[in-house]
Symmetry: C2
Subunit: 447 residues, 2 copies
C-alpha cells in the first residue's frame, strides 16, 4: 500500500512537471518570429496561451490559427495537439520503445494511471494499441477530409488541411485552419457538407469514448452482453446524450441559430452541436446566435464531457452516470447503487462526488475571479471557464479580449482540466495517515 | 422495517396533499375581492403564485404586497408564512394539543421526519419547544422593529409592520410591506438603519439554523465541546459562509451596487447581502445594480441555503459541508470522511450527493424550460429558478413578467423546495426490493 502511495505522488509530480516543460517549450517555439505569418515575435503570454490550449487539446484561441501563425507555427500546434491527445506517458513509452529500452515495473504502474485503465497486466500492449488505433483513425479521417478539400484547395493544401483537422478532431482539440473563410469561423462554412460533418463527428466520438472501450469492444467481438460494465455505461451514455441533446437543440434553436437552415441542415447542425461540446470545440453554427437555453445546454454538455482514458475532458460520462444512479438509489431507499444489474463498488460514488465538487469549485472560483478582473457578462464568462476547464474550446467570443491575468487563469483551467482536477487537488490536500479506525462516528442531518 | 417503509410512504402522501390543500385554500381566499386593495378579483394563477410563495416561505411576488393586497389579503399571507415556517406537521400537532388529543406513535414518527430531528424520544417536547421558541424570537423581533417603525408610522401601522416583518424574517419568507416607499423595493429604504438591519439579520440567521441546533445549544449550555457534531457543523459553516461572502461582496461590489455608499453602510450592506440569500430574500441594495460576480455569489449562496429542520431552504449547510469533506478525503486518499475528528456515517455522503444531484437536475430542467417558453436573459432565469427552488425570494425583476406557464413552473419549484427534492424524487422513484445481495459488483473508471 505504502509503495503504491509513494509512486502515486511521484506520478503526479512527473505529470505536473513534464506537462509544464512541454507547454513552456511549445510557448517558446511559438514566440519565435518564424512561427508567425507576419514574422513578428508573438507576445509570450499569447504563445503560452496557445501552447497550453493546444497541448491540453482545448482549442480556445486568442489569435485565429490560420491568420496569425505561419506553417511552422501551425505544425508546432499540430505536434502539441498530437502529444496532448496521446497523453504524456504514452509518448514517453513510444520513445522508450523506439530506443528499445526495457519498460520497468514503475513505468508500467505510471502508464496504468495515465491510461486510466482497469487491467494491471498488458499495459505496454495497451499503449501499442493506443498508438496504432490513433494512427488508423487519424489517417482514415485525413484521407476522407483530403478528398473533400482537394477539389477546392488542390493537393498540397488539401492534404495538410485533411491531416490537421483529422488529428484535431480525433484528439478533441478543436483547432482549425478555417480562418481563410473568416476569422474564428470554425466549421460554419461546412455546416451543410454532410461528409465533413459526419467524418469530424465520427472522429470526435471515436476519440472521446476512450481506448479502454475500443479495446473491450474488439476483444468481445462487439457483443453487447459480453462487454465490461464500464464499456456498456460509456456506450449507452454517449448515445443517450447525443440523441437527447440533438432533439433538444433541434427544438430550442428552431427560431434562433438554426432559423435560416433547411430541415436537413438543421438536423445535421443539431447532431453536430450535441457532439461538439463533449469536448471537441468545433462549431458549425454561430455560437452567439444561439438561444439562452441552447447556451445552457452546451454548458451542461461541456461539464459532462467525454469518457475516462480518452482525449476528451469534463467530469466524464461515468462520473455523471454514477451521480445519477446514486441519486436514483437514494430516492428509492436502496442501499446499493446498481447499473445494468451490477453493483458499483462503494468508493465509486465517493470519487465521482469528489471530482464533481472539486471541478465545480474550481470553475466557480475562476468565474468570480474573472468577473472581478474584467467587465464581461456572466454568461460569457461561465461559458469561457467551463469551456477551458472541460478542454472544449467553444467560446462566445471573449477569448481575444481577455487581459493577461484572465489569460493566465484560463490557461491554468485548461491545464487543470487536462491533468485532472483530482490530481491537482491531491497535490494540495493533506496526506491522511492510513486507518484512523479509532475515530468515533456520528450522524448528522442531511437535506 | 416494512412497517416503517409503509409509514414513510403515507408520510410523503400526507405532506404532499396537506401542503397542496393549504396552498389552494390560500389561493382561493386571496382571489376574493376582499383580499385586494382595489376590491377586484385577483386572477387565480396570481393568487396561487402568491399563496405558494407565502406558504413555501419563498417571497417571490408577481404583485407588490403593499400595493396590491388589502389588510385582509396581507393577513392571509402572514398566516400562510407562519404555517409554512412552523411546518405542516408542527401546526397539526399544535391543534391536537389544543384539542387535548393524545398524540399516537404514528404521528410521532411523522413528526420526527417532519422536524428532521436525530432523536426518536421527546418529539412532542421538541414541537412544544419549536412553538415556544418561534413565539419568543418573533415577539422580540416584532418589539424592536415596532419601536423603530413607530415614530414614522404611528402605533397601529408600526405594530403591524413590526409583526409582519419579524415573522417574515424569522420564517425566512422575505415578504415585506415596503412597497409604500416604492414597489418591489424590499428593505432598500432601510439600508443604513443599523437596528433594522441587525434585527432582521438576527431573525433570519436564528430561523435558518434550525431548532435541533437551538435545542442542543441550550441543553449543552452553549459549551462548544459538548455540542453534537451536527450543531458544530451548522454553527461553524454558517459563520464561515457569512464572513467569507461578506468580505467578497465588500470587495466585488465596491464599484457596483455599493458605489454610492459610505464605508459603514457598505460594511452593513455586505453582511446583509451575505445573510439574505440563505434563504431570506430581503435585499437592502438594488439587485439589478449588482456586479456579475456578485450575482453569481448570490446564486451560490442561494443553492447552499440554510440548515436542516429550519425555516430555510436550499441543499442545506450540512449537505454542502459533507460534499466538501468528501472531496477533501478523496483528494487525500483517505477512506473515511471526517469532520471535527468524527467520522461521518457511510450513507451520509450518498444522501448529500443525491440531494445535490436531484436539486441541480430540477433547476437546470426548469431553466431550459423557461428559457424556451419566454425570451429572458439566461442570468435572470437562473437567478429566478434558484431563488424559487431555494425558497429565497430574491429576483432580478422578471417575476411580474412571467407568463402563466412560467408562473406554474416557478410555483412548482417553490413547492419542491419546501417539501424537499428528495421527498419529491421518492414519489417517482421505484421502490427497491430490500437486499439484492446476489447482484455481483464491478469496477468502473471514474474521472
Ligand atoms: K477541445
Ligand atoms: K425566502
Amino acid at each position: 500500500m505504502l509503495i503504491i502511495k509513494k509512486i502515486k505522488i511521484s506520478y503526479t509530480e512527473i505529470i505536473v512537471f513534464g506537462t509544464l516543460v512541454i507547454i513552456l517549450s511549445g510557448a517558446l517555439l511559438l514566440s519565435l518570429p518564424i512561427s508567425s505569418k507576419s514574422g513578428i515575435v508573438t507576445p509570450f503570454i499569447d504563445s503560452l496561451f496557445t501552447s497550453a490550449s493546444a497541448f491540453c487539446v482545448t482549442g480556445l484561441i486568442a489569435y485565429d490559427t490560420f491568420t496569425h501563425w505561419s506553417l511552422f507555427g501551425q505544425l508546432i500546434i499540430l505536434l502539441l495537439i498530437q502529444i496532448g491527445g496521446l497523453g504524456f506517458m504514452t509518448v514517453i513509452t513510444l520513445f522508450s520503445m523506439f530506443l528499445r529500452r526495457k519498460i520497468g515495473l514503475k513505468e508500467r504502474r505510471l502508464l496504468m494511471e495515465s491510461a486510466n485503465t482497469l487491467k494491471i497486466g498488458g499495459i505496454v500492449m495497451l499503449v501499442k494499441k493506443i498508438i496504432i488505433g490513433t494512427f488508423l483513425f487519424e489517417s482514415m479521417g485525413a484521407l476522407i477530409l483530403t478528398l473533400n478539400f482537394y477539389p477546392e484547395m488542390g493537393f498540397k493544401e488539401g492534404l495538410f488541411y485533411g491531416i490537421f483537422h483529422s488529428v484535431s478532431a480525433f484528439c478533441n482539440a478543436g483547432f482549425d485552419l478555417m480562418g481563410k473563410y473568416g476569422q474564428f469561423s470554425s466549421l460554419t462554412a461546412y455546416s451543410n457538407n454532410f461528409v465533413v460533418n459526419a467524418t469530424v463527428m465520427t472522429l470526435i466520438v471515436s476519440g472521446g469514448i476512450g481506448f479502454v472501450v475500443w479495446d473491450d469492444i474488439i476483444s468481445s467481438h462487439a457483443c453487447f452482453r459480453k462487454l465490461q460494465l464500464h464499456t456498456k455505461i460509456v456506450l449507452v451514455t454517449t448515445t443517450a446524450l447525443i440523441l437527447a441533446s440533438s432533439l433538444l437543440f433541434f427544438v430550442i434553436e428552431a427560431d434562433h441559430s438554426m432559423a435560416d437552415m433547411s430541415m436537413g441542415e438543421r438536423m445535421l447542425a443539431s447532431v453536430f452541436q450535441s457532439v461538439t461540446p463533449r469536448t471537441a470545440g468545433f462549431n458549425t453554427i454561430n455560437m452567439n446566435e444561439m438561444s439562452e437555453g441552447g447556451n445552457l445546454l452546451t454548458i451542461i454538455l461541456m461539464i459532462i464531457g467525454g469518457s475516462p482514458g480518452s482525449t476528451a475532458g469534463g467530469i466524464k460520462t461515468t462520473t455523471f452516470i454514477t451521480l445519477l444512479a446514486g441519486a436514483w438509489a437514494s430516492a428509492g431507499q436502496s442501499s446499493d447503487i446498481s447499473i445494468f444489474k451490477r453493483r458499483l463498488e462503494t468508493d465509486t460514488l465517493k470519487k465521482a462526488s469528489a471530482i464533481t465538487v472539486i471541478y465545480m469549485s474550481i470553475a466557480l472560483i475562476a468565474i468570480i475571479l474573472i468577473s472581478t478582473i474584467q467587465e464581461f457578462p456572466l454568461k460569457e464568462i461561465m461559458f469561457e471557464v467551463f469551456s477551458a476547464l472541460g478542454t472544449v474550446g467553444l467560446s462566445l467570443g471573449i477569448t481575444p479580449s481577455l487581459n493577461a491575468l484572465s489569460k493566465i487563469i484560463i490557461a491554468l483551467l485548461m491545464y487543470g482540466g487536462k491533468v485532472g482536477v483530482l490530481s491537482i487537488a491531491a497535490v494540495v490536500a493533506e496526506k491522511k495517515e492510513p486507518a484512523l479506525l479509532s475515530r468515533p462516528h456520528e450522524k448528522i442531518i442531511i437535506g
